[in-house]
């Protein structure tokens, strides 16, 4: 981020956090079970894609033709 962004965001984020800080604590008897999950169970199998490797690679900024190319984790070498 630029120094201007840091300055601009600081005030804005403080204002947003002050707003969400007003959220009260839920009643002490409240028990949050994971039952809010609305996804349904399904068979554990891959959903096939019709796209070819080339199609899937076509948006990558750097490839070697069959794989995505990335810089080294610690830099300096490729």
């Amino acid at each position: 981020m630029t120094p201007e962004e840091v300055e601009k965001f600081t005030g804005q984020l403080v204002e947003i956090l002050e707003y969400v800080d007003k959220l009260p604590n839920p009643p002490s008897t409240f028990d949050l079970q994971p039952s809010t999950a609305r996804s349904e169970l399904r068979e554990d199998c891959a959903v096939s894609s019709k796209a070819s490797t080339q199609e899937l690679l076509s948006n990558a900024p750097q490839t070697d033709g069959t794989s995505i190319k990335v810089p080294a984790v610690f830099g300096g070498e490729k």
Binding site: S39, R42, A51
Partner: protein, 470 residues
Amino acid sequence: MNNSITAISTKLKSKEISAVELTKEYLERAKRSDLNAYITIDESGALDSAKKADEMISAGNIQPLTGIPFGIKDAISTKGLRTTAGSKILEDYIPPYDATVIDKLRSQCAVMIGKNNMDEFAMGSSTENSAYGSTLNPHDKTKVPGGSSGGSAASVADDLCVASLGSDTGGSIRQPAAFCGIVGFKPTYGRVSRYGLIAMASSLDQIGPMTKNVADAKIVYNAIAGHDKKDVTSTNRELVSKTDKPKIGVVRRHIDNENLEPGVKEAVKNSIEKISQAGYEVIDISLPNIEHALAVYYIIMPIEVSSNLARFDGIKYGLSSIKDGSVTDLLGVYLDSRSHYLGSEAKRRIILGAYASSAGFIDKYYKKAQATRRLIIEDFVNAFEKVDFIIDPTTPTTAFKLGEKSADPMQMYLSDIYTVPANIAGLPSISIPCGTSNNMPVGLQITGNVNSDEAVLDFAGRVEEMVAST
């Protein structure tokens, strides 16, 4: 409004006009428009589909959406057609596959004119956060069309397409529909597949129709709804049955709110009066925790955003700092690509979400928000034991001026105060036009119980007639 889906389909069927002629007209209108409602116009793709539509019609196989010119929010993936989600980082992104909703439109040979402008990654309420410039409101070009599906709303309102698909995470279909004087419907969470929708906040996102009237919304909804194994949140549960004489719930505090623009209040009260005069029982209800909905939203949503947007890392797709050679290590590619090519609102929400979900604050923010979310859902469960639908203003004001709120995110967020609860609880909710305030359209919001989508659309159709009669 003329040029509805049903009106145009009748003309296509009787061969009063061909799909190719119609498509050329709409392409011309879209190109001539100064509203900036489209990021990409797909002339050749649209004409190809139109030719196929004409063949289908000649073979006697016309379906409800055959040959109908559509706009598509640019967050919905279209194979071979650039999909930016309103972001600079996806300036060159060409999806290798179609979203499920696009598959469904294509199977009926609907015609896609182009991709509609939107706030970056659907984050915003004015379309001013688009990296491709703001869209203008067709009713007053000094005002915003709302957002994030502002390009969709403006293009439907100005007849630059017959219908559009939008997406709604906290009101992004309904709020721009209200600002532009059209119909926008957010279905029950899970009833329309999000496969191929560029995700913003996955526990809230939903695709839905933006149309000129309720009958059209129903046609589009029927075309795109249905279970999809490619979306794990997709649901097939039975629809709630309709009742002949539904009861209507009103939260008085919402209608009498002093922050409501006077003309909005009047239009909404008049509509409720007409509903009551038509013999529907209108009951005051209370949703005790609903005042916390926006705070809950601004905790849960940014946390999901910070996770979903991690995929834009300059490695797999999108603009990247790898190419300019200025960075030579992996972390540098992530940091540099994201800081250069993501916009301000995306950065604000990523920072907020990363902060609120960090180890030290997870109890203070996320867990508290999830607990309150559950209390809000329970409020709705209790309310729907007494009433069938809840009526609210869609927005506290009509469309505001371009630039009026862009420097003050909190003010911008407050324009979604009536729309956010339906996303928090996963409910179907529609905005229909209900009059004007200072010559700008006002939206009436009708929200139903989970899986009562058809009942909501039916009732909204009836209210649409009541509001039109004087």
